[in-house]
């Protein structure tokens, strides 16, 4: 115990004594540890962004999509099938279930003209499952379906058509035709990409269907369920069986998983990015380590006498080995911490955050990256310290004291 603390103390005092030498040799280490850490963190950011983007299209893991169609060409009874899905869903206790109709069309009065507007009909669970972000306002609540003036959420492009009016002041879309009426806008979704010009309004399924007799003939409804990822492989087939059980033979029910996690290629591409950039950073780290070995070896020649003196005052071979090894380890650990701080600073820099625009949940600085960086730093220190430490132990005390 005292041996280790003593060795650590010696290592630290030795480093303090040779500040400049240590500093110069450690710049490389700090930079490469910083790079390594940044690479891991960036890859984490990238994965998060990819996940969020694919969540927006395919739903969060695990999202299961249910669709149905008749095989004999007769019209599908959506209402009946919807009741069936609801029954089954209740038995399974799903808490996130949404119907999706995309698109139905309506006529909307814009400041210039009346034009056709694509509408998407969903349930309140939809934006949760798809992580659909909002620029302004809020998403639907369960009680919104009962409102006499059904709320809608519109895209930024559509909002721009009206000159981005303040939602809090009461801005409403005026629709004409079957669903004629005034629809207060409660939320705006941002553009998904630069130049995204899609004009779309999202409305609650129930709000729409209560205003029309039936869905337009050529539309189809799909259902999406968000369920725990670890159970999906078992539940999926059983769910499909249950859904098929209560319906007519002529109805073909499809149950499939749509989220990105069911597709391994996204993960493997992230792993590849991390592997390649990590390997480059690792090589830089190795070069830094070689520089450190070099400097420590030269320094060791000058320190033979000091080691002799220490030996004559009772330092064991093991103790000398440990303190010389720890010198490198402590030094690289310090450099590692500096490198990690550097990486944190870089990742917090505005230009990096700009690269990941639109990310909802900016992951906290990944612990994995910090740990990777620190472990790499300590490992390179131990590697670089080993040869000088061996040399220090092998040196002959008597020769060391003589000159």
């Amino acid at each position: 115990m005292t041996g280790l603390i003593g060795a650590l103390g010696e290592a630290w005092s030795e480093l303090r004594h040779h500040k400049l030498r240590v500093l110069l040799s450690l710049i490389g280490i700090a930079v490469s540890v910083g790079a390594l850490t940044a690479v891991v963190a960036l890859s984490e950011y990238q994965q998060q962004q990819m996940a969020e983007q694919s969540d927006q299209s395919g739903g969060r893991p695990a999202t299961v999509s249910i669709s149905a169609m008749t095989t004999d060409g007769s019209p599908m009874d959506w209402q009946a099938f919807d009741a069936h899905v609801n029954d089954v869903s209740e038995r399974y206790g799903f808490s996130y279930l949404t119907r999706i109709v995309n698109p139905v069309t309506a006529q909307v009065q814009t400041p210039e003209q009346v034009q056709t507007l694509n509408m998407r009909l969903v349930d309140p669970a939809y934006p949760v499952i798809h992580r659909t972000p909002l620029l302004e306002g809020r998403w639907f609540e369960e009680t919104d379906a009962e409102l006499l003036a059904p709320p809608v959420v519109i895209t930024e492009a559509l909002w721009d058509v009206y000159g981005r009016p303040d939602l809090a002041r009461g801005f409403a879309l005026t629709l004409t035709g079957d669903v004629a009426g005034s629809y207060p806008v409660i939320g705006v979704t941002p553009r998904v990409y630069d130049g995204d010009n899609e004009k779309l309004a999202t409305m609650l399924y129930d709000s729409y269907t209560s205003r029309v007799d039936a869905l337009p003939a050529d539309t189809s409804v799909t259902w999406e369920v968000w369920m725990p990822e670890d159970g999906v492989a078992d539940i999926g087939p059983v769910l499909a069986m249950d859904l098929r059980a209560g319906v007519d033979k002529s109805v073909d029910v499809t149950v499939s998983r749509t989220d990105w996690a069911s597709r391994p290629e996204a993960q493997s591409s992230a792993a590849m990015f991390e592997l390649i950039t990590g390997a480059i950073a690792g090589l830089v780290l190795l070069l830094g380590g070689l520089g450190l070995v070099n400097i420590q070896l030269v320094a060791m020649r000058q320190r033979i006498r000091e080691i002799g003196v220490r030996r004559s005052f009772g330092a064991t071979g093991g103790r000398i080995f440990t303190s010389v090894l720890l010198e490198s380890v402590v030094a690289t650990a310090v450099a590692g911490v500096i490198g990690i701080a550097l990486a944190v600073a870089i990742l917090r820099a505005p230009f990096v955050l700009d690269m990941f625009q639109g990310m909802q949940d900016i992951p906290p600085f990944p612990m994995r990256a910090a740990v990777t960086g620190l472990v790499a730093a300590v490992a390179i220190g131990a590697l670089a310290g080993f040869i000088p430490a061996l040399m220090a132990v092998r040196s002959n005390v008597i020769d060391a004291l003589r000159f």
């Binding site: 005292t2 003593g6 003196v309 030996r311 004559s312 005052f313 009772g314 064991t316 071979g317 003589r402």
Partner: protein
């Protein structure tokens, strides 16, 4: 009961094989016993094997032949780690070139040996080292590095370092060699004083007559052979003084002069000549020490 001496060298020889395969004898058949509190001076020319002898006593080196005993235990049989710890615990070194750690403060230098101790000695090392520096009169310079200290001050720091673990044996290799006469005198006085305070045995290697005169027993080392020498014997005093003075100037002259005193000293000092005479030696050393 027979008293066990602190360090005992028994028929010790040291030789090295040179690159051309010839054998170089450094020490030959050394018999020496040091008791607790003893004060011994060893005089000899450069290259006579003084440092090798000191290294053997300090357990830094192992003899080619013969045995070294520390507190009655054979050094030969000890494991390396145990030997290092034993040395740290019991032996303090003072070097001619001070050998302080460059760039470290006096306090760090003096605390260094305590870093190899354990328990309370380890945790209290700064306090102990400060007290020791105060004892050598450098309480006001504890934060100075060797580069900021004069030669005499550096050697005082080195003395504080050698004594900070209260060793039983202090080995001083030409402690005044790098100092002027006056500073050397005061440094030696301090070393003497602290060593006797701590009841530590002090072995000084020197070529300086005045330094040697401080010791109670004197040996002369020449060409690897150690012979006792009585500096205080009235008959030998003047001749010995002359001999010492001439050692550096004209070795061949010194040799002829010193032959006399060696013989004269034998009955007084009792050079260990084998197993039979050993008890007598130890009685003798105890008397000297008391």
């Amino acid at each position: 009961m027979e008293l066990v001496s602190l360090v005992r060298l028994e028929g010790v020889a040291k030789h090295v094989i040179l690159p051309d395969d010839s054998r170089l004898d450094i020490l030959r058949d050394i018999e020496l016993a040091i008791a607790a509190g003893d004060h011994v001076a060893i005089v000899g020319r450069s290259g006579s094997g003084k440092s090798t002898l000191l290294n053997l006593m300090g357990m830094l080196d192992r003899p080619s032949e013969g045995a070294v005993w520390f507190r009655g235990e054979p050094v030969r049989k000890m494991r390396k780690g145990k030997l290092d710890k034993l040395r740290g615990r019991n032996v303090g070194f003072v070097f001619q070139q001070f050998n302080l750690l460059a760039g470290r403060t006096a306090l760090e230098n003096v605390a260094m040996p305590l870093g190899y101790a354990s328990g309370r000695a380890f945790w209290n090392r700064r306090r102990t080292a400060t007290a020791m520096l105060e004892r050598v009169g450098l309480g006001h310079r504890i934060e100075s590095t060797p580069e900021q200290l004069s030669g005499g001050e550096q050697q005082r720091v080195a003395i504080a370092r050698a004594l900070v673990r209260r060793p039983a044996l202090i080995l001083a290799d030409e402690p005044t060699g790098a100092l002027d006469v006056e500073t050397g005198g005061s440094v030696m006085a301090l070393l003497d004083e602290i060593a006797s305070e701590a009841d530590a045995a002090l072995v000084t290697i020197t070529h300086d007559l005045h330094v040697a005169a401080r010791a109670r027993r004197h040996y002369r080392l020449e060409a690897g052979v150690l012979t006792p020498f009585d500096l205080s014997a009235p008959a030998a005093g003047a001749a010995a003084a002359a001999a010492y003075d001439r050692i550096d100037v004209a070795p061949e002259l010194a040799e002829s002069v010193s032959a006399g005193p060696v013989d004269a000293a034998t009955p007084v000092d009792g050079a260990p000549q084998g197993a039979a005479s050993r008890p007598e030696v130890e009685t003798e050393t105890v008397e000297v020490a008391s």
